[in-house]
């Protein structure tokens, strides 16, 4: 900090020679002229002094009979004097300072934090409707109003904070994580049955709600009722007097068979690149500058594009992208897969299929997939025996206790 002030004020390195050098130093101190870094060298001293104080030394020099030599000048005042003829340079520096000041009066970035279900775009779009977007003046932003309007617009947001940090508007959000599940449970109160979504044999069954209609070991068919939503209400004579409906809930695992078929051609087309042409370009916001003329695409050609983002911190307004478009012309020739290659391709596809099943919670117990290779095509066919959840939710139909109603009507007569 001291060095910065010294640079602003300007510092001169001075050497004085004469008989009464000590007196000169004492007089500087007496006249409140700060000097520092005093080095003695034979019959002369050298020291630093502020540029504005150099003129004050004249009477002291005369009184002490010493001679002054300026050895070095540094700092802003000297720089200004050296470049005083370069008016455009100073105009540039001044305009740069003014531009920075002018830009700092505007909002440039909106940062949204803590949002999970509401995306940044949704919130930014709403803010844009309120005329809060990059480029507006900072004075026109009222954080309290933004907070209040966000709370009104998005009821699932339980806490919002809006603050201005430099030229950035920071919106911090806390969403109500439980609100969604509460709403969904309210809508899921309709009675539902569980039915089989495919054919299979029941291996395990844990019923939490509803009346089981099948048992372990039963073969079921697609669409068959597994757990019904109603529970019968019986009187002392074991007669059904009504039904209570609920949402059937159960974990039902069944052994099912999944068919598998995958086929590929034994031949493929190999691309052989003949020549390449490179077209560099720049994208500045919506403007695109291409440095070389682009050639029209031919039949057998492919275009590869690589882009490097050079500036992107001004999210919505400024982005500078450097890109390179490589156009490759190629010839095609037909090649044939070897037997080993075909086996590898089909095996990897089958492994991928099995991995996908495992991710879904399906357990594979057996598979009978075999590879058949013909001259034109090759295929992997067979079936997999798996254990998987089989239950599927199905809207329940309400039952009416007709017999009981008929009986009661008869007794009244």
């Amino acid at each position: 900090m001291v060095k910065f002030f010294q640079y602003i004020k300007g510092v001169a390195r001075i050497e004085i020679a004469g008989e009464k050098i000590e007196r000169f130093v004492n007089m500087c101190s007496y006249n409140q002229i700060p000097i520092w870094n005093i080095h003695p060298r034979e019959d002369r001293y050298s020291f630093n002094i502020f540029a504005k104080d150099v003129k004050k030394l004249k009477p002291i020099l005369r009184k002490t009979g010493t001679r002054l030599t300026i050895k070095e000048k540094s700092g802003l005042p000297f720089l200004v004097i050296a470049y005083r003829h370069r008016k455009l340079l100073f105009a540039g520096i001044l305009s740069c300072i003014l531009l920075i000041y002018a830009f700092s009066l505007h909002l440039w970035t909106i940062d949204v934090e803590g949002n999970i279900s509401r995306s940044d775009e949704v919130i930014e779009h709403y803010l844009a409707e309120l005329n809060i977007k990059p480029g507006i003046r900072m004075q026109s932003i009222h954080c309290q109003t933004i907070v209040a309007k966000l709370r009104t617009e998005f009821p699932d947001i339980v806490w919002v904070s809006a603050s201005i940090n430099g030229t950035k508007l920071l919106i911090q959000i806390k969403e109500n994580d439980t609100a969604g599940s509460i709403i969904s449970t309210d809508t899921d109160q309709e009675p539902c049955d569980l039915v089989a979504q495919k054919d299979g044999v029941i291996l395990s069954m844990i019923t939490r709600a509803g009346t089981p209609q099948v048992k372990v070991g039963d073969s079921v068919q697609k669409g068959q009722l597994l757990v019904s939503s109603y529970v019968e209400i019986k009187n002392d004579a074991k007669e059904v007097i009504g039904y209570e409906y609920q949402r059937a809930d159960a974990d039902i695992l069944a052994e099912t068979i999944i068919p598998y078929h995958e086929s590929i051609e034994t031949t493929y087309k190999e691309k052989e690149v003949e020549n390449k042409s490179l077209t560099p370009y720049l994208i500045w916001n919506d403007y695109r500058i291409t440095f070389l003329p682009e050639k029209a695409a031919k039949k057998n050609s492919q275009i590869l594009t690589k882009e490097y983002c050079l500036i992107s911190n001004m999210e919505h307004l400024t982005r500078l992208i450097f890109g390179m478009k490589v156009k490759e012309n190629y010839k095609t020739r037909t090649e044939k897969h070897s037997k080993m290659e075909i086996q590898e391709i089909l095996s990897s596809k089958f492994s991928l299929f099995c991995t996908d099943l495992s991710k879904k919670g399906v357990q594979i117990t057996a598979n009978s997939v075999k590879i058949h290779i013909d001259t034109a095509s090759a295929s992997a066919d067979g079936s997999l025996t798996v254990i998987e959840p089989i239950a599927e939710i199905h809207a329940a139909e309400r039952k009416i206790v007709e017999e009981r109603l008929d009986e009661s009507n008869g007794s009244n007569h």
């Binding site: 130093v25 004492n26 409140q32 700060p34």
Partner: protein, 92 residues
């Protein structure tokens, strides 16, 4: 160095009233940090200054600093700072 009756009086007064001597008697304040740094207050001026010797006039007498590569980092009306290899400090 013999003390004048006035300075003796001031000394006694500062002792009796528990006042700092640097204020009443204008005694120099010498602060030495290690062997290579020294600050001095309450002085009148420099009498002699070379690489190996600095003689400073104070109200109560002279201070002689002997050493090597002695430099005055700053020098103003209130305080001065000396850096370099200090080997000896004498009150004359």
């Amino acid at each position: 160095m013999e003390h004048s009756p006035q300075s003796n009086m001031k000394k006694k007064l500062s002792q009796a009233a528990s006042l700092p001597k640097d204020v009443i008697c204008h005694a120099p304040i010498v602060t030495i940090v290690g062997k290579e740094e020294m600050t001095l207050e309450n002085y009148r001026g420099i009498i002699e200054y070379t690489d190996n010797l600095i003689r400073i006039q104070t109200k109560t007498g002279q201070i002689k600093i002997i050493g090597s590569t002695l430099n005055i980092e700053y020098y103003n009306n209130d305080e001065m700072k000396i850096i370099g290899r200090i080997t000896c400090l004498e009150y004359l």
